[in-house]
Symmetry: C2
C-alpha cells in the first residue's frame, strides 16, 4: 500500500477552492432557475440498461458505464454471454439528464402537473477517451419545461440565459436557429433529405468562405441550380427580423419553413418587447442536435473567451415517446459548468469572497486566553461568519502560517495583554494593519 493512491482516469477530485467556485456557479444558476418557477428534481445515478440502451445511438451505447450485477453473477456463463454482458449487467450509470427526465415524466405522469418545469444538476458518466477538457464524470445543469408548446417557454429560456450570464459577469451571444427553417431550406431546393448535409456545409461559411462552401455542397450531391437558389441564404445579413424577411422570400413555399420563420418572429418579437438585454442572433449555420430538436435551437458563446458553446438546447416535440407517452412537447437548455468555470477562471470573474472558506482565524494561546477566544468565536459564528480557532496552542509563527496558507483574511489575537484589557487585536492579513477591538463590541467589527 506504499504506492500513492490515484483515481480512475477521466475523473476528478474537486479541491476546496474548486468547490467554492463551482458552488458559486451552481448556486447562481439555481437561483435563476428558482426565480422562474422551475422545481428541483434528482434521479438515481443508476438506471436500468433497458432505459438507457438505444437512446444515444450505437456510439452512445458503447460509452455507457455498465454495472456488474451483485452476487455470484457470472458463474457458469459462456464467454459469449459474458461478452454480451446481458446476464452480468442490468444497470448503467446515467449518460445525460434528458433520458432520465423523460423516464421520470412517463413513470410519474399521473402525479405530475403539466406544464412540468424542472431543473436538474447532477453528474453524468461517459466512457469517452479522456482528454483535455473532456471527462468521464461531469456535471450537467439542465432546465426543461415539458407539456407546453407555447413559445413563451422559449422566450423564458432566453431570459434565463440573460440573467445567468449577467449574474456571473460573462458577456455572451445567444445564437438561435430553428430546425423547421433548415428543413424548409432543404425542401425548397428539392433536397429535403439532405437537410443535415446542407446545414453542415453552411456551418463552414465563416471558416472556409462562400466558394469553398459551394464546392462542398456540390460534393455532397447538390446540383448547381439548387446551389444558386441557396445563394441569398448564404449571404443573409441585417437584423434578425430582416434576415427572417429575406428568408421568407426564398423558402416561403415550404409550409414547414414558413412555420419556423413564424416561430422565430414570435420569439424575437417578445425578446424585443420585453427589453431582454441580450445579444440574440439568428444563425442558420447552428446545427446542434438536429437528430432530436424539432423547433428552436439555442447555443451560447462567451464573447471574450475562445471556448466552444457554454450553454445550449432546443425544442423537442416528442421526448417521452420512447417511453410510451407520445405528443408531449418540451423545450430546455443545459449549462456547461466545466466550460463556464474555465471562462470565469480565465477572465478572473470570480468574486474575491469565493476564494476564502474561513473569514476569521482566532489564534490559540491556551488557558484562559483560549477560553476567551472561544467565547468571541461563538459570537462570530452566531452571526453566520465563517470563523475558526487554531486547535492547539502552537507557536504563533505556525498559526500565522496556517492563516496565510489557507488564505484567511483576518486573524484575531487574544494574548495575556488582550485578556487583561478585554481588547482583542485584529490583524488584516493583506494590509498587515492591526486594530484593537473591545470584547464588548467584538462581533460588530466583522459585521
Amino acid at each position: 500500500m506504499a504506492q500513492k493512491p490515484s483515481i480512475p482516469k477521466g475523473t476528478r477530485d474537486f479541491s476546496p477552492q474548486e468547490m467554492m467556485r463551482r458552488t458559486y456557479i451552481f448556486e447562481t444558476i439555481k437561483s435563476v432557475f428558482r426565480t422562474f418557477g422551475y422545481s428541483p428534481l434528482e434521479t438515481p445515478a443508476m438506471e436500468n440498461l433497458s432505459t438507457l440502451l438505444g437512446k444515444y445511438g450505437d456510439e452512445g451505447d458503447k460509452l455507457l458505464f455498465k454495472i456488474l450485477n451483485s452476487g455470484d453473477y457470472a458463474a457458469g456463463l459462456t464467454d459469449e454471454q459474458v461478452r454480451q454482458a446481458s446476464k452480468i449487467s442490468e444497470k448503467g450509470l446515467r449518460y445525460d439528464l434528458t433520458v432520465p427526465f423523460a423516464r421520470y415524466v412517463v413513470q410519474h405522469q399521473g402525479e405530475l402537473v403539466f406544464p412540468f418545469k424542472r431543473f436538474q444538476i447532477q453528474p453524468v458518466w461517459r466512457a469517452d477517451r479522456p482528454q483535455k477538457g473532456r471527462y468521464r464524470e461531469f456535471y450537467q445543469c439542465d432546465v426543461d419545461v415539458i407539456g407546453s408548446k407555447s413559445l413563451l417557454n422559449e422566450v423564458e429560456l432566453v431570459e434565463i440565459v440573460e440573467r445567468v450570464f449577467r449574474k456571473l459577469g460573462i458577456s455572451v451571444t445567444l445564437k438561435m436557429n430553428n430546425r423547421k427553417i433548415l428543413y424548409g431550406i432543404a425542401e425548397t431546393i428539392g433536397h429535403a433529405d439532405k437537410m443535415v448535409d446542407i446545414t453542415v456545409a453552411i456551418d463552414k461559411l465563416e471558416k472556409i468562405g462562400l466558394e469553398a462552401v459551394k464546392a462542398e455542397l456540390r460534393e455532397r450531391g447538390i446540383e448547381e441550380a439548387a446551389i444558386e437558389r441557396l445563394q441569398p441564404i448564404l449571404e443573409l445579413s441585417g437584423s434578425n427580423m430582416e434576415k427572417l424577411a429575406k428568408l421568407e422570400q426564398v423558402i416561403g413555399s415550404s409550409e414547414t419553413g414558413r412555420k419556423g420563420i413564424e416561430e422565430m418572429r414570435t420569439i424575437f418579437g417578445y425578446v424585443e418587447k420585453l427589453g431582454i438585454g441580450l445579444n440574440v442572433e439568428l444563425d442558420l449555420s447552428l446545427a446542434r442536435g438536429l437528430n432530436y430538436y424539432t423547433g428552436a435551437i439555442f447555443e451560447v458563446k462567451a464573447n471574450d473567451y475562445p471556448i466552444g458553446s457554454i450553454c445550449g438546447g432546443g425544442r423537442y416535440d416528442d421526448l417521452t415517446g420512447i417511453f410510451g407517452l407520445p405528443n408531449t412537447s418540451g423545450v430546455g437548455i443545459s449549462f456547461g459548468a466545466d466550460r463556464i468555470y474555465d471562462v470565469m477562471t480565465g477572465l478572473e470573474l470570480f468574486p474575491e469572497a469565493v476564494n476564502c472558506t474561513t473569514e476569521v482565524l482566532m489564534l490559540n494561546f491556551g488557558g484562559a486566553e483560549e477560553l476567551a477566544a472561544l467565547g468571541l468565536l461563538k459570537r462570530l459564528r452566531d452571526l453566520g461568519i465563517a470563523a475558526e480557532i487554531y486547535p492547539e496552542a502552537a507557536k504563533m509563527k505556525k498559526q500565522m502560517e496556517y492563516a496565510n496558507r489557507r488564505g484567511i483574511p483576518q486573524v484575531v489575537i487574544v494574548g495575556s495583554e488582550e485578556l487583561e484589557l478585554r481588547m482583542a487585536t485584529v490583524k488584516d492579513m493583506r494590509s498587515g494593519e492591526q486594530t484593537k477591538v473591545a470584547f464588548d463590541i467584538f462581533e460588530q467589527h466583522f459585521e
Copy 2:
C-alpha cells in the same frame, strides 16, 4: 416500449417536494459547517477497486458496486476469471465518504494545509438487500478534521451538532463514549481481548436488565470475579463528571482507561464552560465503530421520534495509514440525511416556505394583457421572487387548477379591466382574499 419504465430497486427519484425538503436539510447543515471553517470537497463517484477493496471487511467487499471495463473487456476469459471479475472490472462506486477522503488526503498531502477541515455531501452506493429505510444509493453528509489531536476538535463537533439540530428544530441527545475507557474496563477485569464482548453485553442493560447482562457476560466467558468488578460500572449514575469520577475509582489502574477518562473530562469541561446548550450524555454502552474509532465516539438520537441514530462519528488515530500515511489522527461525524428527513416529516418541522417552489403565478389572458403581465413578472423576478406565467392563454379554470395543484400561494390577474385601470388583482389562494395593486407599486406588495 409500452411497458412503464422503472428504476433499479433500492434507488429513488426525488420529486420536487422531496428535493425542496432535502435541500433545506443539506443547506442548513452546510451553512453550519461553513460557519466553523470547514471547506467543501468532492471526490469522483468511481474509485479504483484497489482503493476500495479490503477497507470495509469481507462483507463490505461483497456490497461494492463494480463497474465493467469499457470496450471488448471479456473476450477470451475463462469462467473463473470472469467470476473473479479481476479482468473485467477495475472500478467501483464509492461505498462511503471516509475512504475516498483518506485517499484524497494521502494523494494530495503535499498541497494540503493541516489541520485539514473538510465537509463532503455526496451519494454512496451499497449493494445491500433493499428494505424499508435502507437504500442502494443514499447521501452521506460528513464533516472531518484531519491532522490534529486536539480535543477542541471534538468540542467543535459537539457545537456543530447543537447548531445543526437547533436550526432544524429537532430536539436531540448527544451520547458520547470513548474507546479508551471501554478498553480500560476490559483491561481492568483481566479481559482486554474481550472489549467488544463486554461492551455489547453492557449495551443490552436497558433492554434486558442487570441480571440478564450478567448472565450474558458469563456466557461470553467472563468469570464471576470479573463480573463483580464490573458491577459499579453497570450501576453508574449521576452527572457526566460524577460518572467519570466513579469510573476512575474502578479502572484507574489502566493507563489507557485513565487517558480516556481524562479526554472525556476535557471535552465535558469545555462543553460546560462554553455553555453549549445541548444534552450531552456519557453512555458506556455506546458501541459504535469499535473497529476503527480510537478515542471519543458520538451518536445523536432524536428525543421525540423513535428512529435509530441520526448522526454519529468518532476519533480515528490512523485513518490514512491504509494508504501509506501513518500517524495522522482525525475526528469526524456524519449526518444521516434520510433519517433526519423522516424525523422532520414525522414531526412536521419543515417550514411552510419549503413546500412551495413558485410564490406567484401570473394568469395568462393573451395579447396586451399578457405583455403587461410579463412586464410585472420581470419586476418580481428582479427581486428574486420565484414567479411564473401560465404559458398559454388557457381557460381561467385550468390556470387556477394549475396554481392549486402546484401549491402556488398567490395568483395575479391582469385582465382587460385591470389593464385599463393599471391595477392588478392579487388573489391569496389560501384565504381566497383578493387585493387590487397598482402596477406602479406592484412588486412592493410581494416584498
